[in-house]
Assembly symmetry: C2
Homo-oligomer: 442 residues x 2
């Protein structure tokens, strides 16, 4: 295929991303032709509804409802799956691979759950799967992990990989909006779905983390074992107290090498205002990667949207056309179908510093009782912040904000259960992990 003058392309799914990819391949074909050979020839756009395709002015001759014909067309070398979901999309990909076609996809949910099986199927059929668009939209983060940073043992990765959540958190932080108000604004501006659950509950970030961590560590990741917390229960007061302490809250996808195992999690996290990730605001995404040779590198850009994501899709098509993606698929040892399973540490073994907010009665001796519980669980206090009692202190208690030194998540959870059982505690305690600058090791 690589020696041919052009690569035929079938796009399945003409929604936001599919429409964007078709636009880049047709409206902007001169841009591509000036930049790479072979030519990329869009031959079929398969969907059941062509409202978006017509809005974009795609050539009617490209539009087709005949999936079988669009996949089996001998002039087609790559099938681009942009349907989303894990059922029909999976059938499309499997059919394409069995027909000996390379596959390009942005489907993070499918790859997080079934990546290893699909990669193995591709390998068995002598083709490859490329999926740059599955993580962080237009940011070429997978290429960094698989190519630019290949000489590194990756020690940790911290990602802001969901633009909806980052937009909401930025509104809460910068404008003092409540979670509900910020979500409503995001929905109004098209930055959040009508049903935002997949985003705000952290699932989408976890899908991306599974893909990123697998390539960073060269290990097969079990998605089901990734602990996930979303932003939907965050309270504005904690963002404010965090800010006083020099932190900003971000929904982070975290992957850390811990001895022979790996620690993976998605959770709202406080990060120092000194860390570059703290600056990533609005719908932007960024991923910080710590390699043993490079130290800290970071990759920043739009994590969603039609053309930014389509940019990654078309880069993958171009990579297939140039013969680059097939060679990476053949020669890298990072792919989950070739890799050993990761030893994923149980969530309770996560180690971190913590921000704790305890709602306590405002009278002598209370803090000593809280501190006693923490001490008994080997949790060392780093700082305490207590404001003047608010008006409703009688009913809800006064907020006592405690930051801890590095502690075990299981111990912190258990300690908070015991703290909350004290008769001087008026409301459930809050705990948020604090992510420190990862040490660079040269």
């Amino acid at each position: 295929m690589e020696s041919k003058a052009s690569l035929g392309v079938t796009i399945v799914g003409c929604g936001t991303v599919g429409g964007g990819a078709a636009t880049l391949l047709t409206r902007d074909r001169e841009i591509l032709a000036a930049r790479i050979a072979p030519a990329l020839e869009l031959r079929h756009v398969v969907d059941v509804n062509f409202a978006n395709a017509r809005r974009l002015g795609l050539d009617e001759k490209l539009l087709s409802t005949d999936l079988d014909r669009a996949i089996s067309d001998p002039a087609v070398g790559v099938v681009v799956e942009l349907v989303g979901g894990t059922t029909f999309a999976r059938r499309v990909i499997e059919q394409a691979l069995r027909a000996g076609k390379h596959v390009v996809t942005a489907n993070k949910a499918l790859l997080a759950h079934h990546g290893a099986e699909l990669y193995a199927l591709a390998r068995a059929n002598g083709v490859c799967i490329a999926f740059e668009a599955s993580c962080a939209g237009g940011v070429p983060i997978l290429r960094a992990l698989c190519d630019g940073l290949i000489a590194n043992r990756i020690d940790a990765l911290y990602g802001i990989v969901n633009g909806t959540c980052n937009y909401i958190l930025t509104q809460m932080t910068d404008r003092g909006q409540s979670y509900a108000d910020a979500l409503a604004d995001a929905q109004r501006d098209g930055l959040a779905e009508a049903d935002p659950t997949l985003d705000v509950a952290g699932t989408d970030s976890a899908h991306k983390l599974a893909i990123l961590a697998a390539l960073a560590f060269g290990r097969r990741v079990d998605f089901e074992k990734i602990p996930v917390a979303g932003i939907d229960s965050l309270e504005l007061c904690d963002l404010r107290y965090g800010r006083e302490l020099g932190y900003v809250v971000k929904l982070l996808a975290i992957a850390q090498r811990r001895g022979r195992g790996v620690s993976l999690r998605v959770c709202p996290s406080f990060i120092s205002l000194e860390h570059p990730l703290a600056w990533v605001s609005g719908p932007f995404n960024a991923v910080s990667v710590y390699g043993h040779a490079t130290g800290h590198t970071m990759y920043y850009g739009r994590g969603a949207g039609s053309l930014p994501t389509a940019s990654a899709v078309v880069a993958d098509i171009a990579s297939v056309a140039m013969g680059v993606a097939p060679r990476l698929f053949e020669n890298l040892r990072l792919w989950p179908d070739l890799a050993a399973p990761a030893e994923q540490l149980p969530p309770v073994e996560t180690r971190s510093r913590y921000y704790l907010r305890v709602m306590a009665e405002d009278r002598p001796g209370v803090f000593a009782r809280i501190a006693e519980v923490l001490g008994r669980h080997e949790i060392s206090i780093s700082s305490v912040l207590q404001h003047e009692a608010p008006e409703n202190a009688q009913a809800f208690g006064v907020p006592v904000v405690i930051t801890t030194h590095s502690a075990c998540d299981g111990a912190v959870q258990q300690a908070l259960v015991e703290v909350d059982a004290l008769d001087v505690i008026k409301a459930p305690s809050v705990r948020i992990g604090i992510v420190d600058e990862h040490p660079e090791q040269f």
Copy 2:
């Protein structure tokens, strides 16, 4: 070569970067073996002085002074030039290419001046040149331009690509150090050379800009036509006034598409504190790239140092081994030996907003005379900042800080010549460009 089980490597030059690359290929060979195939086999380290090689504990059997033998060794597929400079290094590269060996290099000066000729020589010999390490050290920015962003028409690129300058500017900004003190500290900490001219005068940044702009725009760049200003004449007071206005100064390498031409320059620039590049501090590098599809993406990391730069060198060696670099060299149309010359706009046609500091007598009517000169040159004033007269105002005048709307550099230069000739002006005026957030176009 790609089908073989291993790729033999010769490194020429065992200094900071060469020593780092040899370390990654030997001490860390297990890391590489777990991540890619074929194996990378270091066979020769050529130098005339092995003090660094011995300090690093490299195997004596690798060390050689026989360049011809190390290049002609039939088991060697790639020669890594890490000598630096443009004379002997060029001979090494030409000899390697003529011997049919792929070349990896970090030599920005050589590529900025003679890249097109060397790429053509490589092409004539059926091999490739890879040079990720030439720009921004461990940050895979060339891969982003050549691969991850290939579906984009690149509209602009703004780079902080010299760690020495960024460290000095950060010290001046954050600690209020003078340029001379910050430079002395950088030299003491090994972050600046004993003769820092190449860095602080902006030449090193211009070398990198020539390489980056050529790949971003797919045009051959004439290095000699890039206007270059360094940081060595910056005064602390301007950094302070800029900060009051919401700007921080960075030495920026700037490449902008302007109609059919391109505008290239290296100069100290004010950038809004809201822009991600403003956060890049200390010795770190970052490059912001604006693509027509992705909008803004940014790449951040250590731009120098032994292992960070060696990470990029070894990534290129791995890319050659996997057959990726040769395919990019063959199929991309961006390489300067294939590309048309860029229409580089003359420096005076650069358009920008400007920060101007005029040292004027503190008496009525003075500002009107300055404003009259600016207006006559079609320079529109955006804001004015004038502080209480300092003690030495009688001798040096009072600083009047003016920001302008977008104006032509030639007009601003000419206007300042006329302003400085006024009898009410006590000292030469200062002008610094202001870089606004580049518009994203979707």
